[in-house]
Symmetry: C2
Subunit: 614 residues, 2 copies
Amino acid sequence: MGKILRVNLNSKEVREEPLDEEDSRRFLGGSGLATKYLIDEVKKGADPLGEDNKLIFMTGPLTGTISPSSGRFSAVAKSPLTGFWGEANSGGHWGRHLKRSGYDGVIIEGISSKPVLLVIDDGKVEIRDAGEYWGKGVKETTGLIKDNLGQRFNVSCIGIAGENLVRYAAIMNDIHRALGRCGLGAVMGSKRLKAIAVAGTQEIKLADREAFTEAARAATELVDESLLKMTLEVYGTNMVLDLVNVKGGLPTRNWQYGTCGYTDDINGPAINEKILVGKKSCFSCPIACGRLSEVKGKYACKGEGPEYESVGAFGPMCDVNDLGAITYAHLLCNDYGLDTISAGSTIAFAMECYEKGIINLQDTGGIELEFGDSDAVIDMIHKIAKREGIGDLLAEGTKRASGRLGRGSEVFAMNVKGMELPAYDCRATKITGLGFATANRGGDHITAYVQGPTFLDIPFLIVDNSTIEDALLENPAEAVVVKDLEDALTVFDAIGCCKFMGMALMAEDIVPIIAAATGWDFDVNDFREAGERIYNLARAFNVREGCTRSLDTLPQRLLNEPLPDGPAKGMVVNLELLLDAYYEARGWDKSTGSPTRTKMFELGLQDIIREMGV
Amino acid sequence: MGKILRVNLNSKEVREEPLDEEDSRRFLGGSGLATKYLIDEVKKGADPLGEDNKLIFMTGPLTGTISPSSGRFSAVAKSPLTGFWGEANSGGHWGRHLKRSGYDGVIIEGISSKPVLLVIDDGKVEIRDAGEYWGKGVKETTGLIKDNLGQRFNVSCIGIAGENLVRYAAIMNDIHRALGRCGLGAVMGSKRLKAIAVAGTQEIKLADREAFTEAARAATELVDESLLKMTLEVYGTNMVLDLVNVKGGLPTRNWQYGTCGYTDDINGPAINEKILVGKKSCFSCPIACGRLSEVKGKYACKGEGPEYESVGAFGPMCDVNDLGAITYAHLLCNDYGLDTISAGSTIAFAMECYEKGIINLQDTGGIELEFGDSDAVIDMIHKIAKREGIGDLLAEGTKRASGRLGRGSEVFAMNVKGMELPAYDCRATKITGLGFATANRGGDHITAYVQGPTFLDIPFLIVDNSTIEDALLENPAEAVVVKDLEDALTVFDAIGCCKFMGMALMAEDIVPIIAAATGWDFDVNDFREAGERIYNLARAFNVREGCTRSLDTLPQRLLNEPLPDGPAKGMVVNLELLLDAYYEARGWDKSTGSPTRTKMFELGLQDIIREMGV
């Protein structure tokens, strides 16, 4: 049986609790189990940045083990960016350290009056003053804490953006790994928790070590000999840039266009040629998709990345073609603790507002906020993190910023439920738009990852983009692919395993690992059911907080403004049709988008029905 | 309107016919249209090696154009290996030359009394004596013909195996490209047609050249920026060897095992390190998966390949771990004009018969036919091509050879409908076995190519191997993936485009190319319907020739003998369940495996119903 550490920052009280065995079985761990705590303990309508919100870090049964790419952990809270289910997942080594310190998870409650540092040292827990770290960047904070506590500690912390409650602030660990999305860094900042330093030497418990080792080794072999590794280790995640651009789905100049003309300057091979100095893997990962890059000259910088999403957001979205500047912007965000997707997307939004005359030089503090201007992008990142000038508005994200600006700027705010969209224009593959519209955490691509098969591969197993409406009218079950992917990938976030493993392993490869780690009977049906159960639980949280079908939507631009260029020219997303089919596949009420009572009973979630108020 | 060249080798009469416009629309071209000629013109029960069989070469509407990888053409005849629909498809440059000589296809009828060469020179046709080429290998024959006629000619020819009516003889073009499977080389040999030399300068007609160029360029860009190219151009087709082995589906020692311990010595990277001297592309292909290899030392040789299937057949199937010897065996087959899959598989069969004492040193002519003995493999290839000693028996293929040997050797004959299986053990992904069992040309992997998604990629879009039975019992429609892939890939063979393009392009990317080339209204529905129509036409041919459900089966080993090793240990294929689901998805009669009258009417094939006798 595992343990949870509960830390109340109001009272500075710290206590241990055993993991609930039954809940662990139902929700596995990671964001699954954390979501159960969230819905049980955070009251309806709680202010995400108030003392009633809780920040729940949780590992999964595989975190820290030798199972492939199992260095991952999740954090869950009510999101200050969306007001709904906030979740993020990170790799690196912090999750393993936490687990080896004796805890499966940490629940942070309340708000400290002064900045604090939580130290977890092999079962010994201490809340220390963090005055000396407050106001410092992620790299410096991490370095100082390790200097003070010892190099054996691993640090998860916020940067200046989190302190300043930027609504898309990230929590960083291992300096460059991010719990990036949903603004969990602002939640941590609102609690005045600068960092959690963990160190541990305890052996991670496994119910059947021998069977586990065998199953994990078999899975590692599969990953070792996979197309995924073959491509990802060579080019990193930015390998997809060309694949997306060629289908006309690379958001350019804030989604005004679907292609850009300079992909060769900023793609995977360009990183390899121009700036790559090494590769970096998360704990126990046989792939090492992480890049270590060094830029010389004007934008001199060194660090991990850039990932595809950073390139997409600071490159084509802002129409910047300078890989050095993109990398600099990316690393600046890492140090401020800012989600690069929301940051780049919000700056691109501001650039279009400037282009259209909705904001002017006075608003920007004299900065000519032109598309393509690298320095303007970098200036904006500083302003956002520090909430200086227009940065204070942009720190609110595109939804709130456009709401305050008005004057038609709402059209340029490319978010779903307040969360900025990743770099896949779903007009080029409409079913990806269905994934964006319905993802529990808002405009997100890794909930369903349906852009994987549609943008990247496997043409004939997926409905054609141009005929998907007809196909769904004829057979709504085609939409089940989004549900199936959502459910399967949800399990990965619950067990502490990288979602990329889901591109190389099947459920049948993973279930023996889970069974051996936990000692549960756990087969492929359990796997699928657990994914669906967790997915519906998070949806139930959103329903409770006011999510309805009308919010499962996309920015107007994607619904009404045909792409003007490239292979997807003329396309828009006919979302309502896709939604009908999706709700049917999910067994949800089509008018409200709520899980039905029947579905909740079927998944053993009847105790949650009352929460939803349906 | 295109033209067909009809050549009667009995009368030496040659005549031109216009392409039937209506049939072209219904069956597109390539193997689709050729199959229509076959079922119309070759009488039920015809002897595949007799004068009633016809050998029909056919290009498709894209052959020879700038559409990506459109250098392909097909040949169709009744197969001497299976007695059913015989079809093969090849790349290189010959198809383009034929089309530029003014002909979309060539129908070879009758039997010549003496060896002949067919010369097609820009619309001028001549049947010449081929005495000087008879008895010569493919490379020498090709060279001599080009020396005699001019280097502008491209040669398709048979080697010594075709002359000797080896039932799995291939027809070779561009020296190393093969119409490999189904024994069409034996059909050509039976007609005493040594070669067809073509040269042409005519412009290929396109209904709307501008729209065609635009659509073809867009498709080429998609292929250029695809995962397919990213991997295939680097490692060639042999990139899949590791991916198959790691799932436990690499047939080893004639399918006694599913894994082999020396893949690092013979895989894609090994080719790159040890023997690769260049890369070779077919006409208009942006990928160039073809390898140019040179082996030094004992097995000194140089030529194109080896492809994965050659490595699989002469490597693990025969338990040979020497890449040089494998490459030598592969190139020897190219020069003899032998299908490497059937050749390697038949030798592996003989090795197991030797291992089990069913044949002995007397039978083999003193050769110790042990698994792993490279020289024995090479000796056997010589004997098979020349029909010397035991080679005369093995030249008949595993089905006939085991039938004659008896004594339990049938269990080691790894074929479906007489055609030897490719190197994917479907006990490791059962749905691949469904593809093998139902493929119209017998034990074939590129009809459905369902091993692509199952062995190589995309776990969550495919039913789990261990639970597929339950899944199909619950929802037989899961089997529709095999039908959908068969139908889609059938179109590629009909239009003259490489099936690999189907891994990078969607129907929607291809239909504008077809529409612009032909001037037809042709949308995605037409694409899918055409595929299904052609597929059912070929099935109707097989039904006419006696194919029933009982022949849609797999070797006993795959049905009853659990894999003893590797990740798929303990697995067999529960085929009947898969078949039920497949026939349902196809709309075929479950007891007979015949397309129903309803299905035939639906596809506009009512004129074929009588042929089937159902």
